[in-house]
Symmetry: C2
Subunit: 196 residues, 2 copies
DNA sequence: CTCACTCATGTGACGATGTCATATGGTCGA
DNA sequence: TCGACCATATGACATCGTCACATGAGTGAG
């Protein structure tokens, strides 16, 4: 038979998967601990044996999203410039495919699992910085890397809010990402600009 | 005495102010229709005479935030470059002073008031574009304006999530904003780059 | 092999909350 | 002055997060 530890681990996994599904389908409001438990095949109180509360469960889902994002960033291949554009494209793709999970990842960390969530995001962001470090001068890595990552995340957030579909900006998220990476990375790679 | 219309308008205003206060104090989860009504001095059911549901009330609060943001952007004075940096500084200031309201403004629009909220944000964003149009070539206004606005919003969101306080980026939101506006606006003002 | 123990899970319950149906009381037009 | 209208108040209901307690199966010591 299955040991008790294996059963508990499977339950935890099923809870995480069910929560991620409900999050993707209907946003955080649609993630009901009762529905999560039902979809995982357990009862209402079972999640409390694995997560402190609903916020912690959602934080764990977001942390797994950061881990997957970090893996996909690290899996980029080709020239440093290709890997940079590929990594940012991963960000765009995740935002479009799972907008609610994306907002959960980039939203305000809350609950007891805040530290764990921040750590997961930092690990992914450092993998991104590793790519940037091959393109710009050592002293500009954090400056330009942070600008690229946070800038693209803002562009995606604007697209998810529908700001590119209402005719104000007359542009697209893809064009803005391309402009940003071209201006920052390609433009500054040859002639790094250091703080005075 | 006060007319009925005046009384209703005052109630609506009190509801909006109370909701904004509760939002700033404890985030969207802390905005309880019961608390909003109590702080406004009315009963639980009163808000439903002015707003369809809780989402609509929060959307109305966010829309007023966009209006105030647009006013402060339009109030910038000095050279075009000063007005651009001032407008972006307004964005940063609002995000730091009222993080929850900021997230409500830039978060996913929901509820019946989505259109109204999008319109309010577009009005503010167009005032920002008016400043940008004085700095870059006409054909680059939307491209660089959108990049500046959405990029800075992403930088602020990262700061609100605590990503600059955990030692990953080794930089600050202010430095990133300065780098972005310097690279984009100042760098491209003299020599506009058009799509091929 | 047995038995007490441990811990994940199931179940009942409670307070809080969003929302609606209905009652009510004051205001405005005729 | 009177009847309609409308903002508000109140009661009620379903849902949800959360906890206390019960239960039952896996586990290790003897």
């Amino acid at each position: 038979m299955v040991s008790r530890a294996e059963s508990a681990a499977a339950t935890r996994r099923a809870l995480l998967d069910s929560a991620a599904e409900l999050l993707d389908e209907g946003g955080p409001e649609a993630v009901t601990l009762r529905d999560v438990a039902a979809r995982a095949g357990v009862s209402r109180g079972a999640p409390y044996g694995h997560f402190a509360d609903k916020e912690s469960l959602l934080a764990a889902v977001a942390a797994e999203g950061w881990e997957r994002l970090g893996d996909e960033i690290a899996a980029q291949q080709g020239s440093p410039s290709d890997r940079l554009r590929g990594a940012l494209a991963v960000l765009v793709t995740i935002g479009r495919r799972c907008p609610h999970r994306y907002r959960q990842m980039f939203g305000a960390p809350a609950g007891e699992e805040t530290g764990m969530l921040i750590n997961a995001s930092c690990r992914a962001q450092e993998k991104f910085l590793a790519i940037v470090s091959e393109l710009v001068d050592e002293r500009d890595v954090h400056r330009y890397g942070g600008l690229l990552f946070t800038g693209v995340s803002g562009i995606i957030a604007a697209e998810l809010s529908g700001y590119f579909a209402t005719g104000t900006w007359h542009t697209s998220a893809d064009e803005l990402v391309d402009t940003l990476v071209t201006t920052i990375a390609d433009g500054r790679a040859q002639r790094p600009v250091h703080p005075r």
